[in-house]
């Protein structure tokens, strides 16, 4: 027994000590370069296209014309807003996977006001009502799982996730209720002729950005606000303490239940605000797919940015750039949409994968060396 040789595995995975910011950044850049190289090889082998011109086309897709740039910035803003909304909850180790549903419920509240009050109250007041309704709806939707978590310590990952499906079904129900024409399953543009409840365009109509500017400004304000709130306010500090250790928080006299409910309400309310922008400002209709899965994409953005609102701007930009660039590649090279999705998938895989190498290092077995 005792003289049996101990088999040493080929390699060990060892947790790293805290890595310097510079070194971590270098690894991430390396990952992006590696991803682009792999994409280039795949592009050449599969399609015979020149990878440099494919990448150039991606840039054109996102920023090729003034309008394309504005749409890109608007899409970045929406993804950024949802990511920012999830962040305070994540920082508190409350896994809010319910962004999608909270956005939808906010959108549903806005659409309800537009349809039911569109011809009853003046424009400015209607928008104010929509604003309050959307924020409250999103907030309440997120607070339901938070109360269960705070009072009975239920698993919020599951409950926030499930709340998404309830929200989607509610929206589906109201879509059928308000569909025009009958049976079509579509609400269509709400108040297309009166524009009642449409959020205002900023600037003169001849300015291309006027349609897109409001969303972008709201996103900038919330980014700055969230950065300050998390880094410098007392409530932001409480969030960090609860996130680090609930017991420590209790010991220093923080009312943990109150912090959980308050933080998650803020999280849901910002999602509700995003729903308002999507329904009242951008699409002017309500569908079950209006959030387009961004409630889930935002989870990744928030994590990629390590919960830092400023880095989140770049993470959202990266994802929206890939998406819009990929679409343009499909258009110009006559490739199927799926090909661009493959490229996006590879790039994201490398970016997420490199986080592993930032946290852990691999040591290989060396012949002869024994401890």
């Amino acid at each position: 027994m005792s003289n049996k040789k101990v088999h040493e595995p080929l390699f060990h995975i060892v947790k790293r000590d805290e890595m310097t910011f510079k070194k971590a950044l270098f690894i991430r850049l390396l990952a992006i370069v590696a991803a682009l190289l792999l994409c280039a090889v795949i592009t050449m082998v599969v399609t015979g296209q020149n990878p440099i011109s494919v990448y150039g086309t991606m840039g054109v897709g996102a920023f090729g014309t003034a309008r394309k740039t504005w749409v890109t910035l608007q899409n970045v803003s929406i993804l950024l807003l949802i990511s920012l909304a999830l962040t305070p909850a994540f920082k508190m180790r409350f896994w809010n996977i319910g962004g999608e549903g909270q956005v939808l419920i906010g959108g549903l509240a806005a659409a309800t006001c537009m349809i039911k009050l569109g011809d009853k109250v003046p424009g400015g007041l209607l928008i104010l009502i929509m604003f309050v309704a959307s924020l409250l709806a999103g907030g309440i939707w997120s607070v339901i799982p938070a109360i269960f978590k705070a009072k009975w310590n239920t698993n919020e990952t599951l409950s926030t996730l499930m709340m998404n499906y309830i929200a989607i079904q509610l929206v589906a129900f109201f879509t059928v209720l308000w569909e025009v024409p009958k049976g079509s399953g579509k609400i269509g543009i709400i108040n297309q002729n009166t524009n009642a409840g449409w959020l205002p365009n900023l600037g003169v109509p001849s300015f291309t950005g006027s349609k897109y500017l409001l969303t972008i400004i709201v996103a900038l304000l919330i980014t700055a606000g969230m950065f300050i709130y998390l880094a410098f306010s007392k409530q932001g500090y409480e969030i960090s303490v609860v996130g680090e250790s609930v017991n420590t928080a209790r010991y220093v006299g923080i009312k943990v239940e109150k912090v959980i409910i308050r933080t998650v309400f803020i999280s849901g309310a910002i999602c509700g605000l995003t729903g308002l922008l999507l329904v009242g400002g951008i699409n002017h209709t309500l569908t079950t797919t209006i959030a387009g899965g961004q409630g889930f994409t935002a989870v990744m953005v928030s994590w990629l940015a390590k919960f830092n609102p400023i880095i989140m701007v770049f993470a959202s930009l990266l994802i929206v750039f890939l998406e819009r660039g990929a679409g343009e590649v499909a258009t110009n090279f006559g490739l199927n949409q799926s090909f661009s999705d493959i490229l996006t998938g590879i790039i994201l895989f490398f970016i997420i994968g490199c986080e592993f190498f930032i946290r852990y290092k691999i040591t290989f077995k060396r012949g002869g060396h024994k401890k």
Binding site: P181, G185, T285, W303, E328, Q337, G345
Partner: protein
């Protein structure tokens, strides 16, 4: 470690969610076949809801490609455009890129195309299956559709012939001649379609009945497959559909149940069960418009194609079709074109046991679904009739057809 696995789980959830939602931009084919015609100055933009994998969108893409090839017009296609602001963005991007005729193919695109049309008065916009052009009063916004109910009726004759064959062979009794129909929504276009199909079948097989179920989506392969299977389990001996995936035809092929498909032949995937398929052929419309735009002329605000001009077409018969089907179809087709046979002849169906003598249809879209036009003229329901609108508005529930659910 616990923390890490949680992180990994969330990252995984996020990635898979992203993967699921990562569709949604565009594909395109540029096609500049310059063969000397003056339509080479025309640049056509086509906006489709899905891509070539959807039989519905493929039908548009093929027609646009063929028409552009024939006339020498250039074509840009944006696929996978959702029914939201993205449709507006796609339309204005195409206009910015120099397209002078832009067509969107999905019902939910309409309002967004109207917004784009208001902004680009010099560009001609058209929306297939839409309902608003005749009331919107925009000079550059058009609708287009075709009398597909004529094609459905003829396909129904093929179904009825198949039922007769099964009765004669002793596979089923005359009372068991029950068909199944997979619909998308309880929308007039679908109701008009399944009713004309049923009437076609009934015209040759008087004991035919039909069950209809709805999926709540124009394209949901799983739901359509499940729906077809449910109908087959209910005792339906023949299936047809108005939904855009291969779900129902493949379920039929697996179960060995004869199938009448839609939007194009499914014979290659379903060699043993395919009978026939009706479809709208958009090529004549594309050609008409491209030539009009090239000449700087107007074209119809609300175009309605028919069997006569080739806009309504039937595929070749499949191996499952009964003997004599082609002759029966040809005879009925000649009668329809001659104006002797009206699909919704009120003498051929009843509503709650009564013959329909008057019906106010909702032709002009509004949120109250207010009926606004008398649709019964000269003893028949004037579906998509002159002076009304091209998109179907027949939404009468006739005897002999059972709706299994009406949730959508």
């Amino acid at each position: 470690m616990k923390k890490f696995s949680k992180l990994a789980a969330i990252a995984l959830a996020a990635v898979s969610a992203f993967a699921l939602c990562a569709c949604g931009s565009k594909t395109s084919t540029a096609n500049g076949n310059e063969n000397g015609t003056d339509a080479s100055s025309v640049k056509v933009g086509l906006i489709t809801l899905h891509d070539e994998n959807s039989t519905y969108d493929l039908n548009f893409i093929s027609a646009a490609k063929a028409a552009c090839e024939k006339t020498g017009a250039e074509l840009v296609i944006k696929t996978n455009i959702p029914e939201g602001q993205e449709a507006y963005e796609a339309a204005v991007e195409l206009a910015d890129a120099g397209c002078n005729f832009i067509l969107a193919d999905s019902f939910g695109h309409e309002d967004y195309i109207i917004e784009a049309a208001k902004e680009y008065p010099a560009v001609q916009f058209s929306h297939a299956t839409g309902t608003k052009a005749h009331t919107e009063n925009l000079e550059n916004f058009h609708n287009a559709f075709a009398n597909i109910f004529q094609g459905r009726y003829l396909a129904g004759i093929a179904a009825g012939m198949k039922l007769n064959e099964m009765i004669e062979a002793g596979d089923i009794t005359a009372d068991q001649a029950k068909m199944g129909y997979v619909g998308a929504y309880t929308y007039a276009e679908v109701i008009s379609g399944y009713t004309s199909f049923y009437l076609g079948a009934k015209s040759v097989c008087p004991t035919a009945t039909m069950e209809v179920t709805f999926t709540g989506s124009w394209y949901d392969e799983t739901a359509e497959k499940t729906a077809a299977q449910t109908l087959i389990d209910n005792g339906c001996v023949l299936i047809s559909q108005h939904a855009d995936s291969m779900g129902a035809p493949t379920a039929c092929e697996t179960a060995g149940v004869p199938d009448v498909s839609y939007n194009g032949s499914t014979a290659s995937a379903c060699p043993n069960t395919f009978i026939v398929s009706s479809r709208i052929n958009w090529e004549p419309y594309f050609e008409t418009v491209i030539n009009a735009v090239a000449a700087g002329e107007n074209f119809p605000v609300d175009f309605c194609g028919s069997l006569e001009d080739g806009s309504v077409a039937l595929t070749d018969l499949g191996s499952a079709a009964a003997e004599g089907t082609q002759e029966a179809i040809d005879a009925a087709k000649a009668q329809i074109v001659a104006g002797e046979l009206h699909i919704f002849d009120t003498a051929t169906f009843t509503v709650d046991g009564e013959t329909l003598t008057s019906y106010m249809a909702d032709v002009d879209s509004d949120a109250e679904y207010a009926p606004d036009h008398e649709a019964i003229v000269d003893g028949y329901f004037n579906e998509s009739g002159e002076g009304l609108r091209s998109a179907p508005f027949f939404d009468v529930k006739i005897d002999g057809i059972t709706l299994l659910d009406t949730a959508f």
